[in-house]
């Protein structure tokens, strides 16, 4: 039996593609560190840790989807809702880096691509999309969770598409071969992502609504807004 790996292993991507993805991931993490220096308050120090730990744990819970395939939470949307988009990038980078080095899950040269596809892209998409959509919607729990569900699904699809494009640019497999297959299976995995994300956000909303960085509480929303360009 081969080692169970869930993320992009080394060898799937060319050196050039892996390097470009790594530059993108590193740039996002460096910017996130600056935002964190400014915006990280006392409450979000343990919250970042527990959010990363929860995502790590739930990523181990592969659920079956069609045809002998499984899926697992990516968690970028959950992190973005709880921490805001940039702190979410940091939380996901911690999770995926630990998985690569301690658990041999996801490659070392592919680490940047994994952080980009499963973390940065999803967290920024989710964070900024939710922030943009909320003022257009009624301020109800159902509307908020509905947006969270839709964005969680979309974040998985974007990650799957990005992976397909990187595989094609690496000459590993053509885009017209992988993209439909990746999007097809991740359309189902995204439903699981949406369900888990809504369950977790719903639980936090019930227990501690003040910990929701995006949406729930206007004061919290204001605090994390306005990252200087």
């Amino acid at each position: 039996m081969t080692v169970m790996a869930l993320h992009i292993p080394d060898g799937f991507l060319s050196g050039e593609v892996a390097a470009v993805a790594a530059v993108g991931a590193i740039a996002a993490v460096l910017y996130a560190l600056r935002v964190a220096e400014r915006d990280l308050d006392e409450a979000r120090v343990p919250l970042l840790g527990v959010c990363a730990a929860f995502i790590f744990a739930v990523q181990m819970l592969n659920f079956p989807v069609a045809g002998g395939t499984s899926g697992h939470l990516l968690g970028a949307t959950l992190a973005a809702v709880l921490l805001g988009p940039w702190l979410a990038c940091l939380a996901l980078a911690v999770v995926i880096t630990v998985q690569a080095f301690a658990f041999a899950d996801g490659g070392i040269t592919a680490l940047g691509a994994n952080v980009l596809n499963m973390g940065v892209l999803g967290a920024l998409l989710a964070g900024f999309a939710i922030r943009a959509l909320l003022p257009l919607l009624p301020r109800t729990r159902a509307a908020f969770l509905g947006v969270v569900a839709g964005v969680a699904w979309l974040a998985v699809m974007v990650g799957a598409a990005a992976t397909s494009v990187q595989l094609a640019l690496s000459d590993t497999v053509p885009l017209d071969v992988t993209l439909p297959a990746m999007l097809g299976v991740h359309a189902l995995i995204g439903i699981g992502e949406a369900a888990i994300t809504v369950a977790a956000v719903g639980a936090v909303l019930a227990a501690r609504p003040d910990l929701i960085a995006l949406g729930g509480v206007p004061a919290a929303e204001d605090r994390i807004q306005g990252v200087p360009a």
Partner: protein, 108 residues
């Protein structure tokens, strides 16, 4: 109250990793399934740095029972990720505190 939430959430995470993950689906995930179907799974390699991974493939070494090995890996991993995440945030918070003390508004 604040730490009560953190402890409860951490307990849920550890509970899931220890008690539920051993029973999770062992089918290949989306990417691996596509890689098998489209014939590029064999291009995957294990990096030299990963040959000595402490807990390769979410199986804690030296434990015969696969499910126990995965549960223990989940326990160690979840606590470890919490510690690293907390530590990173703690250091950043300290950095922020000291830079604010030196020059208000300076963020780098």
């Amino acid at each position: 109250m604040r730490s009560a939430f953190v402890l409860a959430a951490l307990a849920v995470a550890i509970g899931l990793a220890v008690a539920v993950s051993p029973f999770a689906s062992s089918s290949p995930d989306g990417l691996n399934k596509v890689a098998e179907d489209k014939g590029f799974i064999d291009t995957g390699t294990v990096h030299r740095l990963q040959e000595d991974s402490p807990i390769p493939g979410y199986a804690f070494p030296g434990i015969g029972d696969d499910r126990v090995a995965k549960g223990v890996a989940g326990f160690v991993g979840t606590l470890g990720v919490f510690g690293i995440g907390f530590g990173v945030a703690f250091v950043l918070r300290r950095v922020r505190g000291s830079s604010t003390a030196r020059a208000p508004g300076a963020s780098s």
